[in-house]
Amino acid sequence: MSGHIATKKLYVGVWIALMCLTVATAAASRIELGRFNVVLALLIATCKASLVALFFMGVKYVSDKMTIVVIVAGLFWLFILLSLSMTDYISRHWM
């Protein structure tokens, strides 16, 4: 990732996109969509997070795959923590 130098234009473009998404998520929360509010909010948050990670943090330009593996591993473990602990709470009333 050290090799690549992104253009200023790209950074500003990403920033504008992030601003738009912030407005979008704030606006979307004002509309009542029931349970889909949270889905939409998290979807937008994930878009924003991806933009920050890919461009600002330079994940898009990393030269070696190990960094990607590290990130994916981290997210996967987070997923394990969230999903497996949730299995307990969801299924407690299944009797």
């Binding site: 591993a73 981290g74 394990i80 497996l84 602990s85 307990d88 407690r92 009333h93 009797m95």
Partner: protein, 544 residues
């Protein structure tokens, strides 16, 4: 420390510099390993002392030796000290620190200063632990279950949690260092398929340390915040769920068992191959198995909670996954055994420990099947059956492997041989003492004696007396190595660079190694365990 380096002609990491600051400010991974060795040995004997008091109290059914409160603090501190200040750092921070760079042909770990920092964090955590102990300790059990720990205990819970929190960051940084080192610092030709299994094992351990420890850290912080500010995340009075604490706690603390055992497995792989003069049987499966254990180990945590009130279906999922993780452990045992087949087996002290490890780990692992079995778990969980099971894994397995590794690499670390006779004797004593201490506890557990009982029903006494008798033998066994290791630093036979004629890069450099480990960066052209190209040892090194 300065007297540690006895004059050996060649310059090495021990005699290069003298003085306190040359140790306390060192960034040499080998010196840091020795700092760890000193500190974990210190905590091992503190924890062992608590264990001895516990066993003495349990000699009679009545609570007579210490008060109930004292007893509770004893087992709490025994657990906390042993788990967080001995078992978790033992093999990685001492042997791993010392050996990993050498085994992969590097001059040092990737981040030497972070390595020193992690020892300091360990030391600061240790000081907090000592502070806790000297002020009367915590009485929550090492598991810190809420709401006992967050609201009802009036002991030093915050100090203990802080101690573990800080030591946890030491563990994270060690893991981080190992991961980057193994990825980035390997010598030319040291491909992944040529890595010694000890490195694989520590690499897998590092993954757990890095991914699991932060969850424990935040969980303990939340408990501390609940005590300090009255946050209500685990408080049932305010809608908090005490089971959430257990989920988060075991998310780390079950994999933590593998932090303890995996590096030990790595050490045993090195020892078994060396004293069988053979390559490891099924290298790929052995390497895959440690990674599989590290990953699967994260999927099974709720098997500590089968009677805690979790959902029936979640319990079934976790039980099934627990059986998955048993498979790679079984693979490892079979492969060690098969390694001896058609080998040329000799019986030096490290090998005796390796035998002990395989035997005791097998028993510990098999009794794990009992505990993972849902219907049976209900009866034996929270009884002495569990105590026996995890001591078979951690003490029978991990401590045996650690001692085996210490004997195996002692010539490399100190440049001296330990006395072989005393080594064998101590190994025997430990093996016998251990079994006498913990085997009766399996029976006790099935008979229904709950754990953490200060006083107990008289029908349990016979087995408790046996166990206490075993513990005294075990104590003798643990003191012996410390005495003769110290003795050997001055009087032991001087070791040459490869006293066992073992394979592995660490044996190609001098004993003890120089500060940068190798005179020139080695070029690796062999897989690990190329015993076919090595001579038999000229003579079995026998002391006296």
């Amino acid at each position: 420390m300065a007297s540690f380096g006895v004059p050996i002609e060649r310059e090495n990491y021990l005699n290069k510099e003298y003085g306190i600051s040359s140790w306390l400010l060192t960034t040499d991974h080998k010196r840091i390993a020795l700092l760890y060795l000193l500190s974990i040995t210190f905590f091992f004997f503190i924890g062992g002392f608590f264990a001895l008091l516990i066993r003495l109290e349990l000699l009679t059914p009545a609570g007579d030796l210490v008060q109930a409160d004292t007893y509770n603090k004893l087992f709490t501190m025994h657990g906390q000290v042993m788990v967080f200040f001995f078992l978790i750092p033992a093999v990685p921070a001492v042997l791993g620190n010392f050996l990993i760079p050498i085994m992969i042909g590097a001059k040092d770990l990737a981040f030497p200063r972070i390595n020193l920092l992690s020892w300091y964090l360990y030391a600061i955590g240790g000081l907090f632990m000592l502070y806790t102990i000297l002020n009367g300790g915590a009485d929550t059990g090492w598991t810190f279950y809420t709401p006992l720990s967050s609201q009802f205990s009036d002991s030093h819970v915050i100090a203990a949690a802080l101690a573990i929190f800080i030591a946890g960051f030491s563990s994270i940084l060690t893991g981080l260092n190992f991961i980057v080192t193994v990825h980035r610092m390997r010598a030319p030709g040291m491909t992944w398929s040529r890595l010694p299994l000890f490195v694989w094992a520590n690499y897998a351990t590092a993954i757990i340390q890095v991914l699991g420890t932060p969850v424990l850290a935040i969980t303990l912080m939340l408990v501390a915040l609940e005590r300090i500010f009255g946050l209500g995340i685990f408080d049932p009075q305010r809608g908090g769920d005490p089971l959430l604490f257990q989920h988060l706690f075991w998310f780390y603390s079950h994999p933590a068992v593998y932090i303890m055992i995996l590096p030990g497995m790595g050490a045993v792989s090195e020892i078994v191959t060396c004293f069988s003069r053979k390559r490891i049987f099924g290298y790929k499966f052995m390497a895959l198995a440690v990674i599989a254990i590290a990953v699967l180990g994260f999927l099974v945590w709720a098997h500590h909670m089968f009677v805690a009130g979790i959902s029936l279906y979640a319990a079934m999922v976790f039980s099934l996954l627990s059986y998955f993780v048993a498979v790679p452990s079984a693979i490892k045992v079979f492969n060690w055994t098969a390694t001896m087949y058609k080998g040329s087996v000799s019986f030096e002290t490290p090998m005796l420990y390796a035998f002990g490890f395989i035997g005791l780990f097998t028993m510990g692992g098999l009794t794990g099947l009992f505990l993972a079995a849902l219907g049976l778990n209900v009866h034996v969980t929270d009884t002495y059956f569990v105590i026996a099971h995890f001591h078979y894994i951690m003490v029978g397995g991990m401590v045996m492997a650690y001692l085996g590794g210490m004997h195996f690499w002692w010539p490399k670390i100190s440049g001296r041989m330990y006395p072989e006779f005393w080594g064998k004797l101590a190994a025997m004593i430990i093996f016998i003492g251990f079994n006498l201490t913990f085997f009766p506890q399996f029976v006790l557990g099935y008979m229904g004696m709950p754990r953490r009982y200060w006083q107990y029903s008289p029908e349990f006494q016979v087995l408790n007396v046996l166990s206490t008798a075993g513990a005294t033998i075990l104590a003798v066994g643990y003191v012996l190595p410390m005495v003769y290791f110290l003795w050997s630093m001055r009087y032991g036979k001087i070791a040459d660079s490869n006293p066992w004629n073992a394979a592995g890069l660490e044996w190609t450099t001098s004993s003890p190694p120089t500060t940068f480990n190798f005179d020139e960066t080695p070029l690796v052209t062999h897989e690990a365990y190329n015993y076919d190209e090595l001579d038999e040892p000229k003579e079995v090194p026998v002391e006296r």
